[in-house]
Amino acid sequence: MTETAIELTEVTKRFGSFTAIDKLSLRVERGEIFGLLGPNGSGKTTTINMISGLSRPTSGGVTVLGVDMLVDPQRIRRSLGTVPQENALYEELTAEANLRFHADLFDVPRKGIEKRITSLLELAQLDERRKSRVSTFSGGMKRRLALVRALLHEPELLYFDEPALGVDVQSRRALWDRILELKERGTTVLITTNYLEEANVLCDRLGIIDRGRLVALDSPSNLRRSFGDTVLEMRTQPVPAEDIVRKVRALPGVVSAVAADEWLKVTVEGGAAVTGKVVTAVVESTSLEEIQSREPSLDEVFQSLTGKELRE
């Protein structure tokens, strides 16, 4: 059995003259939770469509669970569970009927299906609502049902599009726990998200995609570190002048320095020594009212790589 769950090799996808994906190469290992991040229109959906066989690459290769997508897409779909952003549940059917329909589509053996449906509904905490129509469910209930539906045929690879979308804070945590449990059971999980906390909590590795190209690929902590190890936020009186910003930016170990209102935000690499030099330089030039120190956020990494806010 191959150790690679998904492998994209020099994949390009064009729609007419527009290149949506440009020579994208990517590897997702079995058993990991891999997050694909990118602003709207970056090519995430196109990439996922190619991985799930809904779209064919213009050039390059897509291999999923050791099978070439162009050769045997049905075999791949049998091993792929999908939770689309829009849930794709039949609202007029009951929760149970939705699962039964999915079992029929995936030709899940009839023997034992009742038990499996019951256990999945229990997992989704929907066993008491099994006979209720999905149209009466809340967003969180629909999301949980969509998740267990994707698990019904016991997929080796689960694709989850925006897991936290439309889910309240309490349900979100429960949903993340379910996803982490899946990883523990050996399921490979691919998620796309615009929610960095989610990526941070769930993902072993992240791929950041922008304009159809992979701009970063690493674990969340490594990605943050690559941006610097500390962010200093300093409130000064008066507001930081441009010459102070320039002075700080020129110090060795400073990755970036930006002034916004009365705050000066400095990202540094090199630990306490660099931090000390930055603080000294600021105190020499102006009055330091308040100082905060923290790790860089994924948001900042994302912004520095793509030049955009993630939710743009």
Partner: protein
Amino acid sequence: MGALRAVLAIAAKDIVTWVRTPSAIAVSLLPPIAFLLIIFVVAGATGRNPVAVVAEDSGPQAQRLVSILNDSDAFRVQAATPDEAAHLLDTLQVAAVITIPASFDDDYRMHRPDPVQIRINNLNLDFTNDLRRSLPTAITRFYAGQPDNPVMVGVAESDLRPHDVDLVQFELVPILVLLLTLLGVVNGGLATAREFEDLTIKALLLAPIGRGALIAGKILGCWVTTMLVAALVLVLSAVSGFLRPAGWYWLPALAVIGLIALAAAGVGAALGATFRRFAPVSAAGINVAIYLFFLSGGISVAAFLPGWIQTIAHFTPTFYGVDALEGAIFYQSTDNLGRDVAVLLLTAAGGLVLGIMSLRRRLVLDD
């Protein structure tokens, strides 16, 4: 086995969804019900006109004429005094007042002219002409039974068909065809469009089934829904006696119904895949079905329509469906059955090809 299971599951899911979607049921059932009501009202209004009969003479000849008027297919007779009759006419409760004068029997015996008077509410010409034609017909019948009948010219009728068909019964066939086309086109369309509108199409496309199984499931679901409703309508019609094919004529009737439903399901799937939205599919489906209804001779007989409409009607598949069903249900005739079934078979094949091609094109997210 897996493909068959998926086909049946998709079909069953679409049937359940249809049953649980009142708007879809209303869209496909309300137009035929409306036409049915119109036919009942029109048949009631044009079949027998309400008249008041004032018999001022109580002699045997006058009473015989009253009896003939009572038995006439043209009138619903209400006996009245002159004052009552005038009131009934003024208040639009009757369309005319027929007065048999006090001297009727005497005049008859003396071979003097018998001026039976009729006062008509000439509301519109169609209505008025019915009354104008019907009273002389009743008087002709009055004289026909007399030994000294002065009218020597009679009518010898021979009928092309084995029996008369009531207007309402006759109109039920095109309405049944309208119901079939509406159910097929609108339900096939909505079942397909709903997958795109609700984005559930993704769940189907991500299942390990071929496009063929998906399309077969959609068309089968729509066809079965249409046939279930048709079966219910046929059973009700047969029990009530309105539409009851005799003996083995049930078979061609059911085959024709099945073919119309199949063709409509294919066209519906094509519409659904083209528009991919509930509202335009409903609007287009209703329009298509109603145009087909009129062109196939709904509310009239296609053969008696102006030549150019007849030409169009001959290119309208439902025209052949109506013809085949009329032959099977009313006249126990297979005269044109071969031609009609051949046209419907071709239409069903065409509808299916159209549906399959449209769906196949839409089931790719690439372009």
